[in-house]
Subunit: 223 residues, 2 copies
Amino acid sequence: MNKKAVILLSGGLDSSTTLYDAVAQGYDCHCLIFDYGQKHKKEIIQAKAVARAAGCKSVVVKISLPWKGSALLDNKISVPRGRALNAKGIPVTYVPARNIIFLSFAASFAEAIGSKTIFIGANAVDYSGYPDCRPEFIRSYQAMLARGLKSSYEGKRIKVVTPLIHLSKAKIVKLAVKLKVPLQLTWSCYNGAAKPCGVCDSCRLRAQGFLQAKIKDSALHER
Amino acid sequence: MNKKAVILLSGGLDSSTTLYDAVAQGYDCHCLIFDYGQKHKKEIIQAKAVARAAGCKSVVVKISLPWKGSALLDNKISVPRGRALNAKGIPVTYVPARNIIFLSFAASFAEAIGSKTIFIGANAVDYSGYPDCRPEFIRSYQAMLARGLKSSYEGKRIKVVTPLIHLSKAKIVKLAVKLKVPLQLTWSCYNGAAKPCGVCDSCRLRAQGFLQAKIKDSALHER
């Protein structure tokens, strides 16, 4: 059995837990980290640290999105503070086609190294409402890969695996603790200050998860 | 009607003809050119020249594919010379997931500028056998976008338009002449010498098309 896997790793709680889950399943994990013009480089540094801690190789891909159009890329758009987490609609932190782009590089990487498995920490429960985190999107992406990749025509279909997709944030926190994810190395905050801001969607979803799981977030305490 | 369109432009015969076709249909064309680590930069220079000739804006996106794995990216793999054009299988010039990656950036760009149309010069008749040029791939890509993009949830479905997909190379040549594509500016050769090599798949498919269309290739004569 081919046990090589490509892991999309941002260095946040979800993708780090996904990496540790893949390692626990016995995969030879190749982490893919993106430098896509985020306002801060902190998540790239932390992603590399998490990959190292897991004993896995990582590669950083640099891409430019010259059209901006997201609060995560554009200095003219602020990251919302204290937005209602159950608010309807897709927030301004949405990056146009981000997971579509990330998965396309993962598919290229997987094909180039002969891997048949891509792991992505997409989550459709306690999430920010991004359409590219939903199960129906993941299914259609996999169907598209089956038609567009050379490896599909050679009998090697690439699977997109989403171990967290149906878990609440509290359950992800519990899984992370069980898998011994180095929580102190993970970085979820949309801003890149010395400490997590605590008010962006990502910080607040994380805090809510730890609170509901009744677990102390070591990332906040050890920094 | 929203007439903004994103055009994937490599500067070759097919993508240049696609651009001129979109212009003829009245679209406000935004050309997307990739610097993806090709062995030569000639096609980027020619793509920009074609966009300028058509009176259209263009943007160059720089991406890295650190895993190589194609004769177009890797200096250790030679571009085949004089390969049978009807040979079975996918040639070594295949770049893992190239159109999947290119279309993902096109989708991001289209969303960011509020365009609902992406043009790609994919062709499944006189082509090199790449799976990501076939109609079933394009259809599944569009279906995936409908599930993964924010704009789809706002009632703006993005269409992937392929005006050349069912045309023979000879018919593409005739269409290019009819649309007044500046053939002398287009560059199809996989190699980046002063003149097209004449022996790679791309040169030979082009030459065969001009021969069958009984038209002189001005690109070869004016250089």
